[in-house]
């Protein structure tokens, strides 16, 4: 685990570029560990490749990051996004890729990031996903995990919570949103072809989004130690 930069005390905690690198690498591990699980969720209402796609993408990301020497978090996230775009494919590739690229612009030139930055990054990511994929909340996509998560993050920020605590809330909200995808019918993506038959199944993309947020929370806990 890398050093944690405590620039403004625990609650105004800021992460360094190396923390961000650590977080992204941890996401890659979580995705790899859940490759089979995500693929099985996709088999039920899609084409059985979501875990495979994401794992391929994050394997490329971690190769890419190995060679990267940068103090610019924006630059790092942009590299992550571009790598996802050109290695994942399918629907999730352009969407997660765009998400990271947009998140990057929110922290362009910065070498540290606090909770406020995370809110901006996630906001930008969600806007990117929406404009690429034309989906909304309740369409049974990754947005159903991400939108509640950033709302929770913003709330936590307003309440002056710490980054870790805020991500604990975001993770919870993402989890609820992810589980809620079982209760709705898909209107976007491959599952939408199923119509009513998509009901009762958890969306794989919402699940990978939840897993990423949960991984960030976990990494933050590690970093705090």
């Amino acid at each position: 685990m890398t050093l944690l930069s405590r620039k403004k005390g625990e609650h105004g905690l800021k992460l360094s570029t190396s923390d961000i690198l650590e977080i992204v690498r941890d996401i890659g591990k979580v995705i790899e560990d859940n490759k089979q699980y995500l693929t099985e969720l996709d088999a039920a209402i899609g084409d059985a490749d979501h875990g495979i796609n994401m794992a391929r993408g994050f394997r490329a990301v971690s190769q890419k990051l190995e060679g990267m020497r940068s103090e610019d978090i924006g630059e790092i996230l942009k590299a992550v996004g571009m790598t996802l775009v050109s290695n994942v494919g399918g629907a999730s590739g352009p969407l997660y890729g765009t998400a990271f690229i947009r998140a990057a612009s929110a922290v362009q030139g910065k070498s540290s990031a606090g909770l406020d930055d995370f809110v901006s990054m996630l906001d930008a990511a969600i806007e990117g996903i929406k404009s690429r994929g034309k989906a909304e909340l309740e369409d049974k996509t990754m947005l159903d995990a991400l939108i509640p998560a950033v709302a929770a993050l913003r709330e936590a920020e307003a309440e002056g919570m710490s980054l870790v605590a805020a991500f604990a809330r975001a993770k919870e909200a993402a989890n609820t949103g992810m589980l809620h995808t079982k209760d709705i019918v898909a209107r976007k993506g491959r599952a939408s072809y199923l119509g009513e038959r998509s009901f009762g199944h958890q969306d794989p993309g919402a699940t990978s989004s939840y897993l990423m947020l949960a991984s960030i929370h976990e990494s933050l806990q590690e970093l705090r130690r």
Binding site: D47, D49, S86
Partner: protein
């Protein structure tokens, strides 16, 4: 999982190497998983299609004279990435322009569009059309709409012939749109496929069950039901198509009976017998019939029936010469 492969990671690359070695008329780009036509004329609209792998001969098998100039191969069932598609565009783009033939899947549409934007930024003239022939899916502007399936091959053939005539990009696009407007497909499966990297069948059907309205990725169809006779199944498929593409006794159609991967040709012909009988009873003339594997779903057993309503222009273009590994007309 029983497959003739070396590793689940290498299937696409090794397949492309095998295609390149088998068919001297196509070449694989060094820079990407793209098959291009070797002798693409420089003054014609370039046609590019592609998508996830696992649908062979689609789309690499349709690269050649009178059809595609390039086909981009993604991972199995996964749309190729924008950079791969961008390489394809750069490799075959001409002054006359490029038309991207995209099957209607969120992933394909986004990746092809991103590549189109990249190419447009380079000053290349790129347009696109989206194929959505699958009547199993309800058409709605609130959802992703219909999937693109086997009917896509009619688009390749006819738009390809139009481009070969040195028609303009707008003309090629217009005829492609006409094909899309007049093509409908409906499919069914007896067994699932197995995505190599997933290692097990995407779904399981009972010994006496079939999946109706299946797509080409092992995604569930409209419903499951008890296995019926070939005639009953065929009747259902054709009924679904005709409910959406009303045809009258003056109409002429092209028929495609497409095998999804593991269906013996014998069974496809049995299905064809019934398709022709139904159409004959309704007084609809069949201009031409295509039977075989055109757009598969790995080793899935099942079939799809496609009908294309023809006019004089489409008939001429359908009959125009084509010389590709998987589709030859002369």
């Amino acid at each position: 999982m029983k497959k003739l492969i070396n590793s689940t990671e290498s299937v696409v690359e090794e397949m492309l190497a095998g295609i390149e070695a088998a068919h001297p008329e196509v070449r694989k780009l060094d820079t990407a998983n793209v098959l291009v036509r070797k002798d693409s004329p420089v003054n014609k609209v370039a046609l590019i299609s592609g998508g996830g792998s696992g649908h062979e001969p689609a789309h690499g098998g349709f690269v050649g004279k009178g059809m595609l100039d390039a086909a981009v191969a993604g991972a199995v069932f996964t749309s190729p990435t924008p950079d791969q598609i961008y390489e394809a565009i750069k490799a075959v783009a001409t002054e006359a322009g490029v038309l991207l033939v995209i099957k209607n899947y969120t992933g394909d549409v986004m990746n092809f569009e991103m590549a189109g934007e990249m190419a447009a930024a380079d000053g290349l003239r790129v347009d696109q059309i989206i194929v959505n022939d699958d009547v199993a899916v309800e058409d709605s502007t609130y959802t992703t709409g219909r999937r693109g399936v086997a009917g896509t091959v009619f688009v390749h053939k006819i738009a390809g012939a139009k481009a070969e005539e040195r028609a303009s990009l707008d003309e090629v696009k217009a005829v492609a749109e006409k094909v899309i407007l007049n093509t409908r497909t409906m499919g069914m499966a007896l067994t699932s496929c197995t995505v190599p990297a997933a290692g097990k069948p995407t779904f399981t059907l009972g010994e006496n069950e079939m999946e109706i309205g299946i797509g080409i990725h092992g995604e569930p169809g409209t419903h499951r039901e008890e296995l019926k006779t070939a005639d009953e199944i065929t009747e259902h498929l054709v009924d679904r198509i005709l409910a959406d593409l009303p045809l009258t006794t003056t109409d002429e159609v092209a028929v495609m009976i497409n095998g999804l991967g593991a269906t013996p040709l014998m069974e496809l012909y049995i299905v064809n017998r019934k398709v022709q009988e139904i159409l004959e009873t309704k007084g609809i003339s069949v201009y031409k019939t295509f039977i075989g594997e055109y757009m598969t779903s790995l080793e899935m057993a099942g079939t799809s029936v496609s009908l294309l309503k023809l006019d004089e222009e489409l008939k001429v273009l359908l009959d125009a010469p084509a010389d590709t590994p998987a589709f030859k007309v002369f």
